[in-house]
């Protein structure tokens, strides 16, 4: 008996700030259990679009549907019970320990004054063990390196038990070993994932489908083979690449031309 993955749908989502349209009419469906990579150059609107899902940026048009319900007409707690987000970093002004930061993930599931249950402790212990954080457990969060923080924030999102996981540049700060282990881990847990990624090869390797943003608009959605063509990479990123096949997996593999 395990929690089922959720269904995410963006329907014509637009967002503007300071009079500038940052995302325009973005539509995308992510099926239960699917992982979709959000690609695009810097400033293409990837993070901005992700923030409409976890209720930071309220869309000026369009809808964000979580399991068929409009996320913006539900409460923050309702969304947090279903959508977990791994943000790029967290301010660390207070001496919170790693364990306390991870335990925060349970908040949306707790009533006021409800103490932590054995289930909560089991989840926290499991997430800490899986993300290899045992030795940091009692350390202050602010003394960790960028990569270690990233793993703590992923552990926090895991104990939130989301049906949909939003990852914003999850491999930032991570060395290649942890990049691979993080992406492998999130695929293993059986959750629906939408992730903003910079590394096109890792995106092709781990994602079921890719969605490319350019200037705040969706310019392509589809399987990695269909999306990552030399022409599109040149068009969107202004970089000339050679399209190859990965020697063992057969997936798209891009090399600088």
């Amino acid at each position: 008996m395990s929690l089922p993955p959720g269904r995410l749908a963006l329907e014509g989502v637009s967002f503007a700030a300071g009079g500038r349209a940052l995302v325009q009419d973005a539509s995308l469906e992510v099926a239960p259990g699917e992982m979709v990579g959000l690609l695009g150059s810097n400033g293409a609107g990837k993070s901005t679009l992700l923030r409409t899902i976890y209720r930071i940026n309220r869309p000026i048009a369009g809808r964000v549907l979580v399991d068929g319900e409009d996320a913006w007409s539900q409460s923050a707690a309702w969304v947090a019970q279903r959508v977990g987000a791994v943000l790029q970093d967290m301010p660390a002004d207070f001496p919170l320990t790693v364990e306390e930061v991870v335990a925060m993930g349970r908040s949306a599931h707790k009533r006021l004054l409800e103490p932590d249950s054995t289930h909560d402790h089991a989840l926290i212990d499991a997430a800490i063990a899986l993300l290899e954080l045992e030795s940091f457990r009692a350390r202050p969060f602010r003394t960790l390196s960028g990569g270690e923080r990233q793993r703590v924030l992923l552990a926090r999102a895991m104990v939130q038990q989301p049906r949909i996981l939003v990852l914003d540049e999850p491999t930032n700060h991570l060395d290649i070993r942890y990049q691979l282990s993080l992406l492998r881990f999130v695929r293993e847990i059986g959750v629906t994932i939408i992730a903003a990624l910079h590394d096109l090869n890792l995106a092709a390797m781990f994602c079921d489908r890719l969605c490319v943003l350019d200037g705040g608009r969706v310019v392509a959605t589809g399987r990695p083979d269909d999306v990552l063509t030399a022409e599109r990479v040149s068009e969107v990123w202004g970089a000339e690449m050679i399209v190859q096949r990965h020697p063992t997996s057969g997936k798209v593999w891009l090399l600088p031309a």
Binding site: A80, L87, F94, L96, T97, L112, S117, A122, L123, L180
Partner: protein
Amino acid sequence: MRAVADPPAQETSPEDRQRAELLAILRSPPPSSVAAPRPPPVALPAGAPTSAGARRGRHLLALAGMTSLVVVAGLAGLMIGSVHIPAGTAGAIFLHWISGGVLFEPTWREAYEIIVVQTRVPRVILAAVVGGSLGVCGMVIQAIVRNPLAGPSILGVSSGAATGAVVVMRFGLVTLGAFTLHIAAFLGGLATLTIVFWIARTGGRMTPTRLVLAGVAMSAVLSAFTSLLVLTSPDPQLAARVLFWTLGGFGGAQWKLLPIPVAALALGLAVMLVQARRLNLLMAGDESAVALGLNVEAHRRAMFVLTAALTGITVAVAGVIGFVGLIMPHIVRLMVGADHRHALPAVALLGAAFTIAADLVARSIIAPLELPVGIVTALVGGPFFIWLLRRDARSLAGAP
């Protein structure tokens, strides 16, 4: 590192099995929502400190230690003064009185009982309640403006309350009876709260920065206004009285004054404890807090009004006492951690003990005269704060 594209490994090493079990736990629904038996406990890697019990023991120990500090400081507060009363007698009088005459037969001089019950008990209680209120207010304000260097006075309410009191002193308004000064101070604080709230909300979002800036700006304007009132006053004594008020003290303690601050602290602390889990989320930053399910705006607004009102009441009964609300939360976080569920009761107790002790120093060091207690708290708290800043900067610079 196994690449994801490899065919699934068929051999199940103990490590793989454990990993699979941990993954199953992560995706298991809470036991209440299904009738399924709880997953069996998984053996965690050796050395895993699953010590929830030990941690609870440590918190209780810290709370017990702080409670005894309050008792010791309180007893000293009953003993020491113009007439010295031995500890045994002071304690016996207190217990005799609080038990309604059941405990201890009076063998002491009646004058002792009058001094203890009529003068020193209300004074100690007032100091404890004000110190406890400043402690919890400081801790909550630091969380809502996400700045550990903030204190209750940063919201501008203290200055507003002081201004209210000064207006009454300056123009000799005593229309509201014996408590005119206190009522005026509270109204001044309330008016400032409203204005700061209104400034900080302009544009729809009440961010920590806007809140701090609005509070600081209002404080500056109000202090200038207070100074103006004092300097243009025909009464040469006014400056000294105002100075005393703005540095705080418990010289005005009497039984009639106690019910409101006591009730306010009890109510305020209860609400804060109910909200403790949410206050924790604020420490993680607004974006994290939203992603973790908190309605940040509404929560920050509610906590701002609560702490500002509680601060206003403390200033109304005891003047502006600095550093208690700034320093106590730091000491408590060092001792029991930053989790508000444990830190809030602890900071209430430590703030109470510290303020009782500070008042004791203030009234005995140049007896029979009294120092404003704010001078004592600043002289003790200021250097400690500087030490804390330097230590913090060093430990962060040394972080990997």
